[in-house]
């Protein structure tokens, strides 16, 4: 089939960027969306033009690297599918497709469809973990977790950190991303210990990074390739309310800082 593409081209963060038109000919329905772009790029390269830059790695829908907004929907029309797993049989001959980068203040564009999502990493770094050291932990089976809780934690933990939720949210909020992490760890006894600290530091990090807030539009869930549930946002809010009055302290045990040498 033949398609008309309007693709966002932007040299770097300073450039203003614009949509450019490309024709994609001879596209087969068995191709993935990214393979379709590969075909377009190959032609561009051979014509001496710069190919469209886009992020991708596993092409299996698990690494969360791929990120594009297709006809206004992050990851495209199929639902519960990453762009790399989206196949061209979802489109028809003659379609016009708009391809844009994820848009959010917290995700500056690096080049074309590639954006900088390190803000999500910084939210995790702010406290999205259990502060356990390597070694010295008890036998795994001494920590019992009800099957239901373990399964729910797993459902939350499926988040691939692609940032589609942020790009879909009219407020550019990362609530679903936080919700997934906070709920995953809060469901487990190991994670309860520092639940308050975690939610507080992650929420402040989210604001600091320039993400918006949740107005419960639920666009995030609609585009989430892993279908992370909205109830986790409620859980995040619950955890946040529980943490009222908690005074954050720094994790001084993370590294043996300057050990004073006793003489």
């Amino acid at each position: 089939m033949n398609l008309t593409l309007f693709v966002w081209r932007q040299k770097g963060p300073e450039d203003t960027g614009r949509l450019e038109r490309y024709e994609a000919g001879d596209i087969s329905t068995g191709m993935s969306f990214l393979e379709m772009l590969d075909v377009v790029n190959d032609k561009l390269i051979k014509n001496g033009e710069e190919p469209i830059a886009f992020d991708h790695d596993c092409r299996e829908g698990i690494c969360g690297t791929c990120s594009q907004v297709i006809n206004g929907v992050p990851h495209g029309p199929e639902g519960k599918t990453t762009v790399c797993q989206l196949h061209m049989r979802n489109f028809s001959d003659g379609d016009t497709i708009y391809i844009e980068p994820l848009k959010s203040k917290a995700f500056p564009v690096i080049s074309d469809l590639i954006v900088d999502r390190s803000a999500l990493d910084r939210i995790i770094q702010a406290g999205g973990y259990i502060s356990v050291h390597t070694g010295g932990v008890p036998d795994a089976n001494t920590i019992l977790v009800a099957k239901h809780d373990a399964d729910t934690a797993m459902d939350a933990a499926e988040c691939i950190g692609c940032g589609a939720c942020v790009a879909a949210c009219p407020n550019g909020s990362a609530m679903l991303f936080l919700a997934a992490r906070v709920s995953h760890l809060a469901m487990l006894p190991q994670g309860r210990v520092e639940a308050k600290r975690r939610v507080r530091s992650m929420i402040s990090a989210m604001s600091k990074e320039g993400f918006g807030n949740c107005s419960n539009h639920y666009e995030c869930h609609a585009v989430c390739p892993k279908g992370i549930k909205l109830s986790f946002i409620a859980k995040l809010n619950r955890e946040f309310i529980k943490a009222f009055g908690y005074v954050a302290e720094k994790d001084s045990a993370a590294r043996p800082a300057d050990v004073s040498i006793a003489d």
Partner: protein, 637 residues
Amino acid sequence: MILDGKCPSGPLSEKWDKRRSEMRLINPSNKRRYKIIVVGTGLAGASAAASLGELGYNVEAFCYQDSPRRAHSIAAQGGINAAKNYPNDGDGIYRLFYDTIKGGDFRSREANVYRLAQVSNNIIDQCVAQGVPFARDYAGYLDNRSFGGAQVSRTFYAKGQTGQQLLLGAYSALSRQINAGSVRLHTRTEMLDLVVIEGEARGITVRDMITGEIRSYAADAVCLCSGGYINVFCLSTNGMGSNVTAAYRAYKKGAFLANPCFTQIHPTCIPVSGDHQSKLTLMSESLRNDGRVWVPKKTGDNRSPREIPEEERDYYLERKYPGFGNLAPRDISSRAAKEVCDEGRGVGPGGRGVYLDFAGAIARIGESVIRQRYGNLFDMYERITGENAYRQPMRIYPAPHYAMGGLWVDYNLESNIRGLFVLGEANFSDHGANRLGASALMQGLGDGYFIIPYTIADYLAQRTPGTVTSEHPEFRRSRDERAVEIKRLFSINGRKSVNDFYRELGGVMWDYAGLPRSEESLKKALELIPRIRAEFWENVKIPGSGSELNQELEKAGRVADFLEFGELITLDALHRNESCGSHFRVEYQMPDGEARRDDENFCYVGAWQYMGADKMPELHKEPLDFENIQLSVRSYK
């Protein structure tokens, strides 16, 4: 040269303890004076960087993705082994050790594998403490399943996303150290060179993938955790960016590359659908628990599968390996599939596929149970192929999946270059000629959490920290060379894209150096690869410039290395005149078609040394001594 793996002496089960008690330690307040570079933030890299940072070292971590969480470890599906014996089915450290050695067709080091089995239990404890949501039973205990041909249930799993969950666990630990300032993270930064000064690894040269800047980092030791090289086949189950560059550049600086020809071809992948194919998708091996593999008995039978009557189907795995049937190990299943397809009995486009049929299982236990067990895999299959596997059998085909070979390391995970440690899939250490399912995750995390923290201390304790900076002439030379290389790539300005060459190389590797291999085919590959390489350097086209984000340039650098490395794989395969594990040479088979291993002549690790461009690399051998187990024919009949 005869290589020494430096394994401790003494009884197998005491070796690691013995080594640990002998190793030197570093005063806690001194640790921060030592800088350690960790290249790669997959399971091996993230766990190493986190553990080392936590101990107080000054760690610089690098990855080419935009986040550590995207390393290819994320894609592992099936699970991770451990010798916990929770199900009480007869497992234990020795059995896991034995199975791994046997699975690797007796081409790995006993001491390493035993240690791996020992630390496997600590890994599970560690991961649970980090919050990895492993599957549990109704009593709240951890659940296990049998995986990849094992006869005990020793695999821990988190839905079909075990690698993801383990990586997120290691990523959490890493994030905590980044927050604490003990690890500095450099994403979108690709290692292009190892800097060796006076025989010791002292740093790396990298390219900033956003600005194009070439920079160097000096350190007291370097850990390479850069993953496997199976993308030399172009189409594989690995991520698009997985590469050999980091390991190959170390090889060019003198590190030995061991057993490169041990490349695992996974039996259950979704077949190629056309020329546009950019990667292959693995379907979890667990599908073989309930699916039956077959092809039509007649060649060229293109009736739809449901119309082919039972007696005209060849359930070839059940026929050839009645003991294991559809659960026969990976190398055996893959070879059998390739064989029937080469006979012309393959199904689907180009005859490159065999059926994996669930009709029997659906009739026996019901569609809902199958949906519960494999629903997400069936969905994924449908998304990619547009076919409903509840109604018609899946089509599967073998695909390159894992690299057992890698940089040579001794028992301490140190390569022959002092101060260069290699962890995870990037080293050659534990899987011999074939890796068993669910053991790569175990190895990556074992290396990073529980081995490197000890062995690197022993190395560093003998050195004064910070004796060189990145202004040392050797670093400057390294940067200049990289800049020249990049300039050279742009100056070619030919007519073919990098992908054109990559596909050509992959085709040659698959056809002539894949599965099976013969002297003739390998020689053919040795003739073709240099030709492709020569054309690459004359006719490749890379648009844009080196001083910006340039994905074609990144790919070109990786493909250039694969074009040299492919030849090394072929040489290694050609020299190994035996069949073992994943390495199947048609000349060396039993009358019944099984692999004929040659323990007399090839019971060694083959480690190659770079001798210069266009020069024949030199082979060094590390003999494998089996003190504790008897070498036997690896039979799954």
